[in-house]
Amino acid sequence: MMRTINFTLNGQPVSTAIEPHRNLVELLQRFDLFGARESCGQGLCGCCTVLVDDMAVSGCLYFAVWVDGKSVTTVEHLDAEGSLSVVQQAFIDCGAFQCGFCTPGFVLMTHQLLKAYPNPSDDDIRHYLSGNLCRCAAYPEIIEAVKLAARR
């Protein structure tokens, strides 16, 4: 049973037909967006972070049909104005990744974190990002990058 959904994807209105059992990561792949990746598949690791109506969700645990009528933002939209976001630049400046697989999720979550905590403590950062895993264990640099982005 295909269902037609209409939503805003990174600022552009789009329409597609999709089955109810597909998740948001699978939907985004159909639009050649691969920044959100299904990794743990259980909402624990944050690699599939996507913003739906400006709220972070795990794309792997969110039915694709639920974005009907909503606005979806992925990591690919952060440099839409031609330059990297403050958070992206801070991650580069602090070397806050090695392989980079988890980085889109960390970057999107950090954007949300800084809206909730403009001047976050270490404790705020650790709690907010507890649902993001970095297998390269770049955590000290990630915390530095969040703080650098907050200062900028």
Binding site: P20, G46, T49, A56, V57, L61, Q112, G131
Partner: protein, 291 residues
């Protein structure tokens, strides 16, 4: 995942009619974060999901009336976390939210789903049970209300009929009652808990009054510890009383051995953490002991 039908009713009545009293492959879905895990694991294969988003606005409100806090079942856990009335009246609930899963799950998961799921490892049921919460349930046959701990009949089992839905949870005025929730994770800090202990009580003239002690995670369902409550009621929270309360709970609780630890280990955790939970409640959120 295997294909299924998703229907989107616009009213509670319509939603109840789309559920099936006989068919376990038809279920309601609110946030879906727990249900999708069961579907991915292959332990639940729906033929139809009744999506409740269309009736959200009416059933997502968090309101206070005559001191009672009413949380609509479709409120997200994030809405609970950010609600000013929850923060002011039930700080234990707000604190529990911070380590409940993660931000993305809290943004999507609904209060009603967290209660109906029946997983004894979840944080919300023991905290709400210790606060004396009651659950409002609607079904094709009418409405009913239950004390929260009576919702659970076993491991992932509730007394909800297949065509009933939780509509709200109501928490009575706490007046000066003190409360705390502690969870113990045996592996990483964000693991599922080996034990949860929630307590609330009045405290007057140096003595505990009308305590509620709830154990979760180590038992197959959220369970009130009547024997420990009896020890604490009317007693001063000194070391000897807290040790006796811990022993009473450890003797009474039906504790399971699983990947989070042996029953003997969790029984010892219960002795220790019941004491710590009472002390934390007395500290009124000062968190003298970090989990």
């Amino acid at each position: 995942m295997i294909p299924f039908e998703m229907v989107e009713p616009k009213s509670l009545k319509e939603a109840l009619a789309l559920l099936d009293p006989q068919e376990s492959t038809v279920r309601a879905v609110a946030g879906g974060t727990a249900l999708m895990l069961m579907m991915k694991a292959g332990v639940f294969t729906p033929t139809r999901l009744v999506c409740l988003h269309g009736i959200e606005s009416e059933y997502a409100r968090i309101t206070v009336s005559a001191g009672e806090l009413r949380i609509g079942a479709m409120a997200t856990l994030s809405e609970l976390e950010r609600d000013a009335n929850v923060a002011a009246r039930l700080p234990v609930l707000k604190r529990a939210m911070r380590t409940l899963s993660n931000v993305r799950v809290r943004n999507v998961a609904r209060v009603g789903g967290a209660l109906a799921h029946g997983d004894p490892h979840l944080d919300l049921p023991p905290v709400l049970a210790a606060l004396g919460a009651r659950v409002s349930i609607s079904g094709a046959g009418g409405d009913r209300e239950l004390p929260l701990e009576q919702l659970y009949s076993g491991y992932y089992e509730t007394v909800l009929a297949k065509d009933e839905l939780i509509t709200a949870v109501k928490i009575p005025a706490q007046a000066a009652r003190k409360a705390a929730y502690m969870k113990v994770t045996a592996r990483s800090a964000d693991d599922w808990p080996a034990l949860g202990v929630a307590v609330s009580f009045a405290f007057a003239d140096g003595a505990i009054r009308d305590p509620i002690v709830v154990v979760s995670a180590a038992t197959e369902k959220v369970t009130r510890m009547a024997a420990a409550e009896k020890v604490l009621h009317g007693a001063a929270p000194d070391d000897a009383t807290l040790a006796r309360a811990g022993d009473a709970a450890a003797a009474a609780a039906a504790i399971l051995t699983d990947a989070h630890g042996s029953a003997a280990y969790k029984r010892e955790l219960l002795r220790v953490y019941l004491r710590r939970a009472v002390r934390e409640a007395l500290g009124d959120g000062a968190r003298p002991v970090r989990q």
